[in-house]
Symmetry: C2
Subunit: 127 residues, 2 copies
């Protein structure tokens, strides 16, 4: 891959609204998703917004996994940004889809730093 | 805007490598960028990766602002995700461009939750 990073822009629709409103549930689902992908978790931070919705991010050695939820629309937007090719992002997304009870998952893949030659160690985690 | 959120995928090239390696400098620049946009900062987390590079995120009431740097390529990838129309993202990006000493800034805009009707309060911050 002639790029420094890869990012998946993921949209989950038809989710269980109660799950999307629960910051602890969302945090645990995101951590399980990162681990299922083989990512190394550095830290995480999740917040509940009144009256609805959760925002949060898991920082991993290989970049980040972020979520914003709209329970009132049964909708969640997820970003999964990684560098290197070691991380199995689809495995993490499968975990999230099941955890959120999503009816559908739409994924757009974007290259970041395209055209900038990766260094030889780019296949390894940065941390 | 018939979408729940808007996301800018931003790539800074020709940056000052020394700045991209300094987690405290990057954190302060990101916080200033969020504030310049009119965003409400909830929390932030920044990390230095050996031997090079910084990853971090600012969680704002209106979503998030994330960065990953590659000092060895004078390159930084930034994501600015917001809901509502109150945030002036370009003002924040101008702050970052100057702080990083970037020669160029490339911006791609993406709608998130497109086609899902925004609720009447979507123009207000969620927090």
């Amino acid at each position: 891959m002639n790029a420094l990073g890869k990012q998946l822009l993921v949209e989950f629709t038809g989710c269980e609204p109660g799950r999307l409103s629960d910051p602890e549930f969302i945090a645990q689902a995101m951590l399980r998703a990162a681990q299922a992908s083989g990512a190394t978790v550095v830290t995480h931070s999740f917040h509940h917004f009144a009256p609805l919705g959760v925002s949060g991010v898991v920082i991993i050695s290989e970049s980040h996994l972020a979520i914003h939820t709209w329970p009132e629309h049964a909708f969640a937007a997820v970003d999964y940004f990684t560098c290197g090719s070691r991380i199995e992002m689809p495995l993490g997304l499968d975990v999230l889809k099941e955890a959120l009870g999503a009816a559908a998952m739409d994924v757009v893949s974007v290259q970041r730093g395209a055209g900038i030659a990766p260094i030889p160690s780019a296949g390894l985690p940065r941390g």
